[in-house]
Structure formats: structure tokens, C-alpha cells
Symmetry: C2
Subunit: 137 residues, 2 copies
DNA sequence: ATAATACTTTACGTTTACGTCAACGTCAAC
DNA sequence: GTTGACGTTGACGTAAACGTAAAGTATTAT
């Protein structure tokens, strides 16, 4: 009898696992690595929307090839926005460094996309030149 | 007595390792996985500019988080542009699928960059609001 | 002749990110 | 009261991507 509304107040581990197409094992593993820290209801883990947002960020980072250690640092960046002055200065430096790396990665992606488009155009053209349809007969 | 010009005709394994900041072990490992197939001069490997280009592509792919298995497929895409018609049709489909994935990844990156910029702006602003310089005293 | 340098193969070790049982707790339904 | 359904904690297994010796070969320098 779980609510079907877009977002509930809290989530169970299988809720999140189902939503993001990962196994509960994965989510527990992230907790073991201190990337998540859900509350408990007795023995059971209870995830807030904030936990859910963190998980989303972790999985996005993983798709971009970042290690869990990297992602822990990035999450700490998001967390420590209300620290002491010196802490925030350090945070700012790290965040800008991280930003530079992401922009470098974006350049890599753009280059790769351009190359791949070149291949596609070339092959598509070579098929057209022979008067061949792209779809099979 | 190695030439210092930007590009030579052929390269040794340590040439490439030096240029791309990886170890020879890494390059040999890629060969073992059939991502590279350099010529031999006796026992020693000899890399052409084409091999070098492949290595460059592999390393760029790795920075984007692709597995070596993924990259082998992608390299095959680049290679098979002159195959039979049916082969090229398959190639075209795969290439377009690959392109779609890359564009999805670019969206992930753009989202992440946007989030991170938000953090930076927020923290920088909070420091300015207190009349604090970003650099330490 | 020998030492240094550069390269080779073989093989076992390591880290990361989980997968896969196994055994147990808890609550609702039958 | 036992059977699921869902959750829990270990603990061991594993695939990927190299790292790290160990031991041999080939060329070059002295």
C-alpha cells in the first residue's frame, strides 16, 4: 500500500533501489563508505528526500566515471556550505578545481561526440553513394 | 638520439608512456585486451601514429569513465568503416546508439556543472556578505 | 668483457565496486 | 504458529584495471 505520488516524505531502501534501478546492496555499500547516513526505524533504514537527492547525485557521478571517494569529497562540498570562514575558503577552492575538471571532461565529451558524428556522417554517406538504404531489406 | 620534433614516424612504448603520462604496463595491458596491435622490431613494440591516435582515444574514453570493453567496441566502429554493406549498417546503428549515450552523459555533466556553480556562487556570496576576502590573510 | 639501458614475458598482488549467499529479525496474513 | 515479504548484518567471491616484482634478451657505452 505504498503511495504512488511523485515524492513521499520518506523512502525505504527498496523504494530507492527500484526508483534508481540499483540493488539494495549498492545503497548499503554507499552507506558503508559514508556517502549516505539514513535514519533508522528500529533496524530498518529510513531515507529522507535529502538522502534521495544525495543518492541521485552519487549515481550521476558514477555515470560520469567518478570514484566513490571522489563523490564523497563532492558531497562534502555540498554539505559544508555553512562551515567556518576558513573552511568555506577551502571549500571554494576545491569547488573551483572540481569545476575545472568537469569542464575539461566536457571538452573530452564534445570532442568524442564530434569524432563519432564524423564517423556516422562518413558511413551514412558511403551507403547513400551506393544508393543503399540505411535500413535492411 | 630520439627526434624532438612534434611527431615522429614511429614511437617506442616509453615514448607514448611519457607523452600520455601512463606506464608501459598500461599500454601493454591494452594490447593484451586487443585495443592495440603494434608492429614488432624483433621483440620490441613499434607504434605508428595510428596506434598513437588509438591510444589517445582510449585514454580520453577512460577519462569519460568507459570500460576497456566499451572502448574496444568504439574502436571497432572507427575501424569498420570500409566493411561490407550489412556490416556498415550495423555499424551505423551502433554508432548512433553510442552517440545518444554520449549526449546523455553530456547532459549529466552539464547538470553537475550547473549544480557546482550554484554551490560556488552561494559560498562566494556568503563570504562577500561578511565582507571577507576570498584569499586568506 | 662488463655494465648500463631499454625492452620483454610471466605471474602474482591490489584496489574498487559491488554480487552472492547464509543466517537472522519482524511484522502481517492465514 | 508458520509462512511469506521485507529488512538486517556479516562474510566471502569476483571482474576490471592495472601495479609490482622477477628473470630474461638485446643493444649501447666504457
Amino acid at each position: 500500500m505504498s503511495a504512488e505520488k511523485p515524492v513521499a516524505e520518506t523512502f525505504t531502501i527498496t523504494d530507492l533501489a527500484g526508483e534508481f534501478k540499483v540493488t539494495p546492496r549498492t545503497i548499503r555499500f554507499y552507506e558503508d563508505k559514508d556517502l549516505l547516513a539514513p535514519q533508522r526505524n528500529g533496524m530498518n533504514r529510513v531515507y529522507t528526500r535529502r538522502d534521495r537527492a544525495r543518492l541521485k547525485l552519487i549515481l550521476r557521478g558514477r555515470r560520469l566515471g567518478f570514484s566513490l571517494a571522489d563523490l564523497k569529497e563532492m558531497l562534502d562540498l555540498y554539505d559544508l556550505g555553512d562551515g567556518q570562514v576558513e573552511q568555506r575558503r577551502v571549500l571554494l577552492k576545491r569547488a573551483r578545481k572540481q569545476l575545472a575538471e568537469l569542464e575539461a571532461q566536457r571538452r573530452d565529451i564534445n570532442d568524442t561526440i564530434r569524432d563519432l558524428k564524423g564517423v556516422i556522417d562518413h558511413v551514412a554517406e558511403s551507403l547513400r553513394a551506393q544508393g543503399i538504404n540505411e535500413q535492411a531489406a
